[in-house]
Amino acid sequence: MIGIRDLEFAYTDSDFRLRIEELSVAPASTTAFIGPSGSGKTTLLNLIAGILLPDSGTVETNGTVVTDLSERERRAFRVEGVGLVFQEFELLEYLTVLDNILLPYRINSALRLEPAVRDRAAALAERVGIADKLNRLPRRLSQGERQRVAVCRAVLTDPPLLLTDEPTGNLDPVNREKVLDILFDYVHESGTTLVSVTHDHEILERFAEVVDFRSFHAFGPSA
């Protein structure tokens, strides 16, 4: 589960300030963060993932108090425990689909790229319908296919927590449904916790929980 208490965060170069007294996300649940732009949804994802550190308060994920970890420990926590999917996919243009999926194993010396990992990458690609495109470069893929590659990359390490930031923001309706099907099928089968930032209210019914950031009264200049 995810537990957040008395969290305060501000960027040094802006007036934005995020304040959350308490927020919890149940394990193996699906939660959507909604709210207007600039309300702190993506910032909270980054805080949960340990990419950012709050000015005060605690973030606890699956029993680990992320805010107590050093930079190195937070990185290790992210590698082992968090899968990330971005709105812009963030695939590396110079890597093939397979190498993009395997990227966490290429860039983290803590992870060993063994044949079983390659097999898992191929199996994931098969599952999301891009098995015949493993040797293609991202520029030769459709938007929907790129996001599917990004999903495969995020779940390759079988993380207990999947954080997605506008995963369907750049997709047409058909691809949006496909990607959501893939995500939800995966989290239901694996028991992964899914937290997703979205502006798309049409997809909210798929989520078990919806957190509206307006309810926090947590944005705007600090008093």
């Binding site: 290790a76 590698v79 963030e90 290429r106 860039i107």
Partner: protein, 392 residues
Amino acid sequence: MSGTSYLALRYLVFHRWKTAVLVTALTLILFLPVGLRVLVRQSSEQLTSRAEATPLLIGAPGSPTELVLNSLYFGSDVPATIPYTESDLVEGTGLATPIPLYVRFRVREQPIVGTTPEYYGFRNLELADGRLPAILGEAVLGAAAARALEVGVGEHVISSPESVFDIAGVYPLRMLVTGVLEFSDTPDDNAVFVDIKTAWVIEGLGHGHQDLARPEAAAGVLRREGNVVIGNASVMQYNEITSENIDSFHFHGDPSAFPATAVIAVPADDKASALLQGRYQDGSTVQIVRPDAVMADLLGTVFTVERYVVAGAAIVGLATLATALLVFLLSLRQRSRERETLSKIGGSPAAITALMGSEIVFVLATALTLAALLTWLASRYGAEAARAVVGL
């Protein structure tokens, strides 16, 4: 291969043209100063060693450089000639052994060196196959010349006409190859050696033709004036010297006045050398030069030019390095989003730095390897190529 090295290689392969340009630029700036230095040093060593092995050179007044380049390196510029008698005069002094040279004609690109048998011993040239020329019309080839002309012992080479438009000029002479020399890594490798009299035959100073006294040559007789038979244009001249026609070959004029481009003088000792040089101090009809001094002058100029070129190359190199650095920095800036992504999915700053650093290392390592290869090629083949370029 580590993950970061793999990613770096994929990046460079993906941007192959950008990488190729960068590698080429870095290779050139690394190679140019070093390669040029190696090339110049090696060429100068070869030129100097041959010059130092040639004590004195006697030739017509004029450019000492041209005389030395033609006589030692068989350059294509032919200096004014001196009469062959100069060789006899040197011998007559008892101060030095003369070796006459007549370097004017060519077999395709290969210079024909008309000389005497003493030349081979003087240059320590050994036969790889066959024997030295014994009679008129025979030739022995340097190793590279045999390879270039694709001929061996028992085959023939033909002297090239000096001008295809001059029908009254030098006629080609077909010569039997009697031997091929061992490779010596000197200009001798590219030469076709003949007896100096054979060179005179090529020039037309000696020739062979039908015997007009014989009945089958009657059609060639223009008229008879007493014992003198004057032939007409139909008289057949021989363009090859064989055992059947060698007796018909003869020279017109005084052989002592026949041309030589130079005479190598090999003095018995330093004193003989000094005395001989003293005798030619006048220099009005012939000049005597010390090839090592001539080459030292020439190479002094070359070294000065080399220093300027190397300095220029170094400046261009620094500018190129600065540009390459700028390219890398701009590339890093352009890839800030990629770095952010790598960081988010768990890439440590060290791993990300290693990735970007590996790209620089790969580019530099490739450029260094190529520059080293080019430098090796320059040291191996550069001097030969430089000689070919400047016609030596």
